[in-house]
Symmetry: C2
Amino acid sequence: MSILAVGSIAFDSIATPSGRVENVLGGSGTYFSLAASYFTDVRVVAVVGEDFSPEHESVFSRRGVDIRGIEHAPGKTFRWGGQYLENLNEAKTDFTELNVFERFQPRIPAAYMDSQFLFLGNIHPSLQKTVRSKMMDVRLTGGDTMNFWIKDFRPELLETLKLINILLINDGEAKMLAGERSLPRAARKVLALGPQALVIKHGEYGATIFFRDGAFGVGKHPFRAPALPIEEVKDPTGAGDSFAGGFMGYIASQESLNREVLKRALFYGGVMGSFAVERFGTERLQSLTREEIEGRFQIFRELTHLE
Amino acid sequence: MSILAVGSIAFDSIATPSGRVENVLGGSGTYFSLAASYFTDVRVVAVVGEDFSPEHESVFSRRGVDIRGIEHAPGKTFRWGGQYLENLNEAKTDFTELNVFERFQPRIPAAYMDSQFLFLGNIHPSLQKTVRSKMMDVRLTGGDTMNFWIKDFRPELLETLKLINILLINDGEAKMLAGERSLPRAARKVLALGPQALVIKHGEYGATIFFRDGAFGVGKHPFRAPALPIEEVKDPTGAGDSFAGGFMGYIASQESLNREVLKRALFYGGVMGSFAVERFGTERLQSLTREEIEGRFQIFRELTHLE
């Protein structure tokens, strides 16, 4: 089934201990779409500037991503520059030029209106809410957010959280959103704000999904998926968005929607995140095969499963 | 089969967000022995002072731990005081009074000489080496160490590492020992120093075991066990030693010694660590049942295993 992704398309300049690149295609919508495209039909809503070329466009179209929702606006595409130093889990931002993204008002093509799955990338919570309210056929909505919205747009974010079925955030964001230092307690508080499930991404330690009581079937416990212990992480940019793409893409590819599907989706999220960081930018996500993905899924199993 | 544990016995004064206690029985040898006692016969070598009472002794003997190796020396028992503030993963030490532990020279009773498993707790690496060299029947040696020895006693530690089959340390210690920020690369470097397997403990994110090529059978990948997402960690003191006790105790209880046994042992390590932190000091480890342990093992499975 089709998934609609709303997010950013950006040109990133990145420095890591493994090297540096300038103005490579990135952004949450890009990483998400490419990762999800290995599982299901993906439609993307985003905005780009005049510097977005047919070659950039072909990165999406070669993966079968429907790009009719990419709006071309006068001006330059969103640009971000950052570096990863001591800690590969955390980027130091050098610059952020919002450019056309500053006035982004998601416009949803008529052809997208029948989407059954929706992913609201990390944009203003009021825009997330507007998009969600327009999509009448959506069965499941995933969403992301970040410290900036949690801190300065809390009322708007709380409204949006009521409409999100599965929230995907990292440890620091979960603790900040809940005002709580214990991760399991933070999870319980976040689930009380609306979502039926909460995915907390722990970087190199994997991710945990917490369920609200009775949501997606029965079960008493959260579920934890590992990350791959990768000797050389070339570029962590987009790992979280690729995780979300694998997670949501797998869910959208399944007939039923239950805890077992969500658990497997958590593994596929880890799988796609692990591929993303092997090369700079989206390079690795552009040329995967389903066999490589299934092979890595098996490695994730071996990493965690007893006989 | 019997396991001999060499370590510290201490009286701890601990403050956490859940409360505070003074002079409760603790120390690496204590937590390790109690945790391991649920799986196998445990013998302990340690030193205590005149303030170590029959009631303290009975904590060990009630669990069937052989205490003939506890030396009673003139003076006071090792005392440690610390607090856990923002971050429950890290203690701030208020005071350390080594007392009788300062001149600790492990003496191994003749009745212990047939021990087939050995755990060298976090003591001076030269003492660890001396103990190991005396034990002729040992099939497998586990060991622990810490930043102090890694930094200031590196040559002695490197000698000892050649005699340790499985080293159990945390993320920070592994990175420091290897001089390497990437955990998988650090693991490879540590394994080149001697151990056939390396267990890296990640606190609330669980633990990973890395194998040297060909050690303990075939297999290409490390293995990761979760930690239990516990809403209220009362007191993290001794979690790592309890983990080691569950891990080594389970191994010593098994006939064969292969990767599958070590993987299960990693789960049992997590199980015992999760019990330890539920109450202050060793309280929870004193009164467990094997049924409770197996029940939690099942929860650890549910936390990680797909259908």
